[in-house]
Amino acid sequence: MSSIDATEEPEVGAEATDDSANVMIQFDGVVKQFGDNVVLRELDFSVSPGEFVTLIGPSGSGKTTILRLLMTLEKVNGGTIQVDGEYLSHMYRGDKLVPADEKHLTKVRKRIGMVFQQFNLFPNMNVLQNITEAPIRVLGLPKSDAEERAKDLLDMVGLGEKVTAHPTQLSGGQQQRVAIARALAMRPDVLLLDEVTSALDPELVAGVLNVLKEIASTTDITFLCVTHEMGFAKDVSDRVLMFDQGQIIEDASPDKLFTEPEHERTREFLHAVIDRA
């Protein structure tokens, strides 16, 4: 699909792309700018169902913005985003494609979950309530079902005994594992991981990454992950996308990208990151 200007209407009838059955996330000519600062320039890429895709690149290259656009925390300035063949950034009004309203966002957003760098747990709720609140209020699950599932998830992330704890009583690593359980409780098809270990003390990183590896290998959730943990990215990713200045400059399997990157810019970046570690 050709790139789309912010003022131009996206092409109507593009709802079902030819291979929509095999595309979970589709970016078409996505433009995002903050003021004069263009963060994404006509970005095209897609992710298949169940795929684990890691985004790497220097800070400010637009990786986190991609996750935030998918989570509907930001709005596109141009182009379209589809999730499982359904427009996320836009909706149909009659047969015209217009920017999505809150109602439409609520409908498509339910397939997506996100884990944040700073956890963003709710301090006015204990661990269990953090996990059950949305399933009860948003999905309408009975409280007992939501609690049972929350406890299973807490067991899975190794925090079964912290049910009644308060978030502030937990270490950063434990808080992040609660946040992962909270996102999973909504049964997302897509899980976005935004530098989930960047705010953690080094000794707590492995625990969180192990939980994520476990989830990635035992579920068919589609992952889009922004990280600086190159070892982790190499282990779990099906595909790695190297970003620079709002564009993908390299798209390859982790084996290829980490061992024989094609682009000079990728090599430089990997050197810088690995030297630091």
Binding site: T72, L73, G113, F122, N124, E133, A134, Q169
Partner: protein, 245 residues
């Protein structure tokens, strides 16, 4: 000099219930209006924001006393309906302090980190659920210290009700003045002490609420030095200031 002290107490204390009613009624209206107008100031709708802004600026920017005269004295002439003076007073106290409280609520809501809202969006809460389940419970604690100030100011403003003949403490003291002119010092000292005691009660309740709210958010209780800490500073058996006459 102190011969009539017991009598003064008796007369002034008759006004205490009115002062307490006016304060509690005013606080109740203040809370309701603060929340409604405060959230309206943050509304997505320009019209709603505009209406709320007019209310806030109108009541904050004009004299409380004139507002009282308006509602108690001018309005009955205009609409032919006379509010009971106490109710008119409560209404003015609530309308006036609610205008200040709206800004308190607006500020508290805006003080909740954006990350909390984003966490709620990621869980697909509706805007109303975000506000009720995530933002307001966290904003609550931030409103308590400024509301403590506001409620004490409201308490002291109840003295204005004397001017529309509500028999609250100040009015009762005024009734004594022509008769016991030489002892106005004692009379006014008694009501000063009573206002102070009531304000200590307000602060005590607000600090308790603040502690409870801090505990709910998993924060350590705010440390106060013993002089200002209501729990450490309130003598159990009453004190020279707040005790029984």
């Amino acid at each position: 000099m102190l011969d009539n002290f017991g009598y003064f107490w008796e007369v002034v204390l008759k006004g205490l219930p009115y002062t307490v009613y006016a304060t509690l009624g005013g606080i109740a209206i203040t809370i309701v209006l603060s929340v409604i107008a405060g959230l309206a100031l943050l509304s997505g709708s320009r019209t709603v924001r505009f209406i709320s802004r007019i209310y806030v600026e109108g009541f904050r920017g004009t004299s409380e006393l004139v507002q009282l005269f308006w509602i108690a004295l001018a309005l009955p002439i205009l609409i032919g309906f006379q509010l009971v003076p106490l109710w008119a007073g409560i209404l003015v106290l609530g309308l006036n302090h609610g205008a200040y409280g709206a800004e308190v609520v607006r500020g508290a809501v805006q003080s909740v980190p954006k990350a909390q809202v984003e966490g709620a969006v990621a869980l697909n809460f509706t805007p109303a659920q975000r506000m009720r389940r995530v933002i307001l419970p966290q904003a609550f604690i931030e409103t308590l210290p400024p509301f403590n100030n506001l409620f004490i100011q409201l308490l002291k403003s109840t003295a204005l009700l004397a001017l529309v003949s509500v028999p609250e403490m100040t009015k009762q003291a005024e009734e004594l003045r022509p008769i016991f002119g030489g002892q106005v010092g004692v009379i006014y000292l008694i009501i000063l002490v009573l206002y102070f005691a009531l304000s200590v009660v307000i602060t005590f309740v607000m600090r308790l609420l603040e502690r409870a709210a801090a505990r709910r958010l998993g924060r350590r209780p705010v440390k106060h030095d013993t002089l200002s800490d209501p729990l450490a500073g309130m003598p159990v058996g009453g004190s020279a200031l707040g005790g029984k006459p």
